[in-house]
Symmetry: C2
Subunit: 341 residues, 2 copies
């Protein structure tokens, strides 16, 4: 200790006047030591700016404070935003979150899970790719690590599922559209990357039956996660083939809707709620950019706050040992009425 630099907990223990095991106990949980002890330690932290070696800590703890957050695609602002919410909740709860993206690639998802496993996480908040996910790897991971699945459900993996209520989403916005104009056609991808799409289609069919209208589904070609481009190309084709039987189009998700709006623009089709508009377009998701389309997109938005709150709290409860049977929680969305429909 020749230059005042604290190199390890032993040295820190000496300058703080508190025994090393107690210092260790403090860094694990400050509330586990009495206040007078805590004050001494915190004064020494202030003076010496000591921080335990995180590798040694993580190696030797039965349970680390590490939490993984895995999303299928970070360039989708929906996932970036919900990840940001989850991250903040983890930090607030005393965890150390690490963010991973599968970049739309199943092999990458497996690799992310392997890397995560080596971090001995207390838990993981995982939005899987969905249909493309390696089921076996995912199941094994969920068996080994406290894992909360969010966004799209894959069987009954993990401790619980938290996501948006796709049925309510689609029913609610279909209802809105039927009440305000012609009943909507449903615009979707034929082979969607994300299984939420199937639920939304089913819900659309059910809703239309309930409201007494004939459903029409337009399923477009396209693979992967580039939804805007798929929506644009599919929109062009659907318009050329005159596939839409009504003037109202409900899209499976906002990004597909954004692509469709581009196709409308390119074909000179006026979109909006007014009497001068040729068609109305609606989306689902409340994508952060849907406010800035032309026209601003009517959509139904995830409750980012409620989803992230519920997901994080469920995971933390499980980490704390509160064992519950597997449960699926679906949170209703909120209609955002704008100018496109």
């Amino acid at each position: 200790m020749s230059d005042g630099k604290i190199r390890n907990m032993e040295e820190f223990s000496a300058v703080s006047g508190i025994s090393r095991p107690t210092v260790s106990k403090y860094f694990h949980d400050p509330e586990s030591v009495r206040q007078s002890t805590r004050k001494k330690i915190e004064a020494a932290i202030e003076e010496y700016d000591y921080r335990p070696n995180i590798f040694a800590m993580n190696q030797n703890r039965k349970l680390t404070k590490n939490v993984g957050i895995v999303v299928p695609l970070l360039t989708d602002p929906y996932f970036a935003e919900i990840a940001r919410n989850l991250e903040q909740r983890c930090i607030d709860a005393g965890y150390r979150p690490t963010l991973f993206s599968a970049h739309g690639d199943p092999a990458m998802e497996v690799e992310v899970l392997d890397n995560l496993r080596s971090l001995k996480p207390a838990g993981v908040l995982l939005a899987p790719l969905g249909r493309a996910s390696d089921r076996r790897a995912l199941e094994k991971f969920c068996d080994d690590v406290h894992t909360l699945i969010f966004d799209s459900s894959v069987e009954q993996f993990g401790i619980a599922f938290v996501g948006s209520d796709n049925h309510q989403f689609t029913t609610h916005i279909s209802d809105y559209l039927c009440r305000t104009g012609e009943p909507p056609c449903f615009f979707e991808m034929k082979t969607p990357a994300n299984p939420n799409a199937h639920r939304r289609r089913q819900s659309y069919l059910r809703a239309m039956e309930e409201f007494g209208f004939d459903p029409q589904v337009i399923s477009i070609e396209g693979e992967g996660w580039a939804f805007e481009e798929i929506g644009r190309l599919g929109g062009h084709e659907a318009f050329s083939n005159k596939q839409f039987s009504t003037n109202t189009i409900l899209c499976s998700n906002d990004r597909l809707a954004i692509g469709l709006l581009t196709a409308c623009y390119e074909q000179g089709i006026k979109v909006g709620r007014g009497s001068d508009a040729a068609i109305r377009v609606a989306g689902q998701d409340g994508h952060p950019h849907s406010r800035y389309t032309c026209p601003p997109l009517t959509t139904i938005s995830h409750d980012y706050d409620a989803v992230s709150k519920h997901a994080a709290e469920s995971l933390f409860a499980a980490i704390d040992g509160h064992v519950e049977p597997w449960k699926s929680t679906r949170i209703e969305g909120k209609l955002i009425m704008r100018d496109s429909a």
Copy 2:
């Protein structure tokens, strides 16, 4: 070793028939052992699926394989995309990248740097917040850790700076706009979050002087990183005040342009290159969503590939001990001509 599960390197060493220090050497750098030895180790890895304890490894290595990637805002797809590029390059080079976002918050940026430091990173690829960054914390960090600054430059911190050539961006697109129609006004934020904006303004002024036109800068109010909303509100105000002296508007960045396009839509102002359009709008950045605006935005795009390649390679060279004087590299962008201008 009662159930075939390998618990540590010692056990793995026994089953592979290779000494523990040699196994350790292999995991550090597979090329550092001879081929026959490597084959034996890899066969045992295949059979036992062993992976060294990452905490013990990182604790004891003089230089870890950890690389941090820090961006100011992950919900901006520009940063999400360039981060994805950088991440892949790190993985390909044998590093272990960890992604961090400052979420537009200077205090968070400092916290990210502190967390990063505790990971003993081999190096860090850092896109700072810019003007809002805690200069002292940043400088100290760069002194302690091999840090490559990208996107926006902050003094001569770190080993080098790699970013886009804002001068070329703005000059090039100004030139294009002047050749194809009326000379552009420059639409910017009065107090931009990101210092690239200042360079772009200066370049615009210089370009206009060079081309022999009177420059006009419209600086709008707004703080933070919600560029679309700032652009939309500022657009409304500028149109109401008739601030644009020409029919052409060059925006400081794509997201501001997206907001301005929304204001145009809301005010019924037709945008485009055609003779029926009232104004032309152009952006800068090649934002992934700029293809899906109405009309698709003419912009100048970062060379994501070249920037990430150069940044990563510079950092890896520095990690490998190739000491060079501080250097700034600016990579030219490519004009993307679409329908907005």
